[in-house]
Structure formats: structure tokens, C-alpha cells
């Protein structure tokens, strides 16, 4: 299971919005670090308490689409169901019939914006300047959020 690691992502500047640049030794780790980077923008300190578990599956016709779908799902769970992910276990990322499928267990807690003093609302995960690539021995991902 992956947990938030501040050395694995950083905020990047965008005139009106904000983005993250994340890395991972593996694609599942990159996916987790992108998610933690986004949650860090929303909540600052997410803590490590994990008393609830959810299992999710996200699909997309490309890795780019998979990233947008994955982060959008985690943002939706937080916004509507008030589920804050503090631990992520990416079970698999498969490619079948030209479709990428990501399955993951999310460990976390109930967290409303007021209780947790959220600092930023992410309207959406954009495709703008979205990067997902392997450089040397690590995976790099960049995402800009509309806020």
C-alpha cells in the first residue's frame, strides 16, 4: 500500500490554476502519488488514519484518459461521499482490447470540507499539458487542475 510521500510530488505553477508533477518507480506508484498530490492541494495535511476501505475500478482508452478518470474518481469520492483516501493499493493496471483498466483499494476516512478545513476546491482534472511517460527508471506524470 502507498501512503503520502512529499518527496514524490510537487506543485507546479499555472497562471489561473495549479498542477502537480509526480513520479513513481512503477506505474501504480505514479498513480498513487498523483492522487496524493491532488489531495495535498485540496486538504494540505491528509493524515494517515484509515478506518474505511473502498474498492474502485476506472477505465480509459489511453493512459492519459486513465489518469483523468482515476483522479476525477478520487475527487468525486471526496466531494460527494466525503471519503478522503489516506492509503492507496493499486491492485492492477491492465490493458485489454485497447482499454486501460485500473483497480485499486482505497483506505481512508470520512472527511467533510468543513471538518477538515479543505483549502482548495478542484473543479476538474484537465487534459491540458497532461504528461505520463517513463524517463530512465521512473514514471513521470504531470496534471493541471481547474480550480
Amino acid at each position: 500500500m502507498f501512503t503520502k510521500n512529499l518527496t514524490k510530488f510537487e506543485e507546479i505553477e499555472h497562471t489561473a490554476d495549479i498542477g502537480i508533477l509526480a513520479s513513481g518507480d512503477t506505474l501504480p506508484e505514479l498513480m498513487a502519488n498523483l492522487a496524493f498530490g491532488m489531495l495535498h492541494i485540496i486538504t494540505g495535511d491528509i493524515g494517515n488514519q484509515a478506518i474505511l476501505k473502498r474498492t474502485i475500478k476506472v477505465e480509459g482508452p489511453s493512459l492519459i484518459d486513465l489518469i483523468v478518470g482515476w483522479l476525477s474518481e478520487i475527487n468525486y469520492l471526496l466531494t460527494v461521499n466525503h471519503f478522503l483516501s489516506t492509503g492507496i493499493e493499486v491492485i492492477s493496471i491492465d490493458q485489454t482490447f485497447g482499454n486501460f483498466i485500473l483497480s485499486a483499494h482505497l483506505y481512508g476516512k470520512d472527511s467533510t470540507p468543513i471538518e477538515s478545513n479543505f483549502i482548495t476546491e478542484i473543479k476538474a482534472v484537465t487534459y491540458h499539458k497532461l504528461i505520463c511517460e517513463k524517463r530512465d527508471n521512473e514514471y513521470i506524470g504531470q496534471v493541471i487542475f481547474d480550480i
Binding site: E11, E121, K123, I147
Partner: protein, 484 residues
Amino acid sequence: MKYKNYHIEKIHDYLFEIPAVDNMLVPGRIYVTEKMMDTIIEEDESIQQVINVAQLPGIQKYSFGMPDIHWGYGFPIGGVAATDYKEGVISPGGVGYDINCGVRLARTDLTVDDIKPHLRKIIVNLFKNIPTGVGSSGAIRKLGDKDMKRLLREGMSWAVENGFGDSGDLENTEEKGVLKQAEPGAVSQRAIERGKPQMGTLGSGNHFLEVDVIDTIYLPNEAEILGLFKNQIVIQIHTGSRGCGYQICDDFLKILARASQKYHISLPDRQLACAPIGSQEGQDYLAAMAAGANFAWNNRQVIMSLAKKTIMETLFISPSDLNFSLVYDVCHNIAKIEKHKVEGKERKLCLHRKGATRAFPPKHPDLPPKYQEIGQPILIPGDMGRYSFVCVGTQKAMEETFGSTCHGAGRLQSRKKAKMMGKGRDLFNEMEKMGVFVLAKGYHTVAEEMPYAYKDVATVTDVMEKAGISRKVAKLKPIGVIKG
């Protein structure tokens, strides 16, 4: 003239043209001064986005950039494009995630002297009664499916019928507060769930409610018709369709990306995903986007109604003492079906205005009778420390820009840089020294939204005035602000 890598022709001191080359179907036209053009080219890639939009099938006349142009997603913010209804496409990138983000202005009979001693209390009570900030909710009861479907279909009349404001407000709202193409069935359950608890909430980012004073009147006759006078207290509200609209845009970017492939539309940018307007996908987006727009009008109407009630209760005054009424409500993130003249012939077009405001001229049939003489009121908010402007539309706007003008100041600094500048300072106190009492959920938001993070909105409105597109009627100065 060569500007960096772009070939750009100067049409006049306030208008530049990018000739149509390569895959561009029409030229680009940007309303800026030479100095502004230098800055725009230096700071981002919005010029390239104007060029990209010029490649959309069915685009008419020009791909426009307004003087507040900056980098957006797909379209630039401050981008306007009209596509032919029969031959053209519709794109969520030309609307944005916050569908029908917009501004409304309400007038009162109060003057700055009436309100000054009670200002802090009014702002505190507004902040208490109108939820702001990340994931804000609970302004009114959480809506059920039935209410959501009704308001998504019927628009702002839902709020009026539920006791928020009165029927006169409909007349003073663009499109009378309803886009009739709306079909709740085209909206996903996710979008409905995101919207349910958020009716009557401001949200975060650059959204706000301001108590403003009319500082300067430029056009006395127009101001009088709008019900505005010097030293008067007015209320300005800037927000949109909240999570409901964000989700609709998100859903349809995926659907329209597939549609772009299906209809063999070659796109320079994934965020310009689009479909022929007449296709099933195009019609579905139009129906869902219209429903999102209807949510936004209800949202601003509920907030305005809560603000009116709060002011009356705080000051212990009657409705007739306050004489509160909506001056006008404009959208600045929208796609609408409108009729315009192209090469002398009237054509049915899809007007994408992304960070741009409709600016219809006097005598236009879509304006309320009382504004027929002066043209459409246009609301252009600035930053929370300096000023905002009320303008009116012109015939030249109709002829040149499909009746469109600018929408705001545009950021000067990134949010990250603005936050860094705010570290270790007492920004609430700094704002108060500027004469503005600010309440916000988070210090971060105040830091991101400080006046130094924004361009001067006066330079933006001046360009459109000098280009003959819109005329300044009044300048508003903020004295109290609530933010997310």
C-alpha cells in the same frame, strides 16, 4: 509584423489580426494594445489557443480574443467563437468547466453613509448566511431529485417560485434565466448529486459576493435607466453552476472526444473535443450544458435573495426602505444559439463565449423593454481591492464580435506566487487599510485573490471602449467582500 513566432497584423491601436494560415479556417482577432500583446505573448500560449480555435469546423468570421485573454483549457479565457448551426461544431472547451459562471448586480436605495456604521455586521451576517469556500453547502435544504430536475429544465423560475426573489428578476437576467434546450435526462446522476447540496453557495477560487459603492458615473442617462447613482450601495455576485456544471463538462469531454474521432474531426488540442451541433452527441451536450446553465442562474438568484434578507434583517429596514432589485445578470462561460448577420445574411450560429460577456446593442429584441434605449448591461468585475465596471453593449459589438466583450481582469500572478507573497503578512488587515472589509474561509484564498495578483481591469474595459465594443457607465469600488 512578427511577434516571436507569430505573424500578427495591426488593424488599429486596439485590434490585431492573425492571418489564416495552415489549418486555420478563419483569421484570429485579438482586442489588445501593442503593449498588452507583448505581455500576452511573453506570459502564456493563449495566442496559440486562438489559432487552434480557428480550426474548428464551421467557425465563422474570426476566432476572437478579448483584452483579458489568458491561457485556458482548449479555448483561451476571453475567447469567442461562432460556429454555423448546420455545418459547425459545439465544444465544451468553448464553455469551460464552470458552465454559466457569471455575474449579477443588484441595486439598493442605500448610500455609503447609510451603511458605513453597520458594514462589519452586514459582512459578518452575509458570511454566516451564504456558504462560501471549498465544498460549501447547506444554504438551503438539500435538494431532491424532483427539485433538481425541475430547476435544470425550467431555469431561474424555480427559485422565484420557491420564494427566492420575484418574477421581475427574470426579466433582468440574460435569456430570462433559462436556456430552453435544457434536458435533465442528458445530465448524469453524478452531476445531479454534486449539485444537490450546493444550491445557494458561492464556492471558492475567484468567486465572491461584494458590497460595492458607485464611485464614478460616466454616462448619467444610462446610469439613471439602470437605477444607479453616485455613492449608492450595490451588491455584486460572481459564481456559477458549482459541482453540477463541473461534472457535466467532465462527462461530455469524454463523450465528445469519442465523437471527434467518430466524425473524423482533427483536433490540435484534446480540450477542444467537439461534435457537429446537429449530431446526437452535440445535441446531448447542448441539452446538458443548458441544464447546467439553468442551475447557475438559480444559484445566483438564491444567493441574491439570501443577501437581500440578510441586509434587511441586519439594518432592521423594510423592503421599501431597501428598494433592492436586480440590475442585470450576465453569463461569461456559455454556448448559446443566436442569430447574427454573416456577409449580410442572417445565420443561426452557436456562440461560444468562454470568459467573455454578451454585449447586445440598444433596440435588440432580446433585451428587456427598460434597457432597449441603452443596450445590454455588462458587468466586468475587477479584483477585490480596486474596482469593477458596469458597461453597455453597442451596435459595433454586434457587427464585429457577434455581440461580445470582455469579462474581467485576468490574473497577473499564479496562485502559487500570490500565496508566497502573502506569507507572513496580515492580508485581512492590509485589505481593511485599503477600505475593504474581507471575510473568507481560508487565508490561502485571500492570498491568492489579493489585488496584486490581478491585472488592472480598467485597462481591459478601456480597450473595449476605445474599440467601440462596449461603453463604460459606472465604476464600482468594493467596501465589503465575502469569499471562499
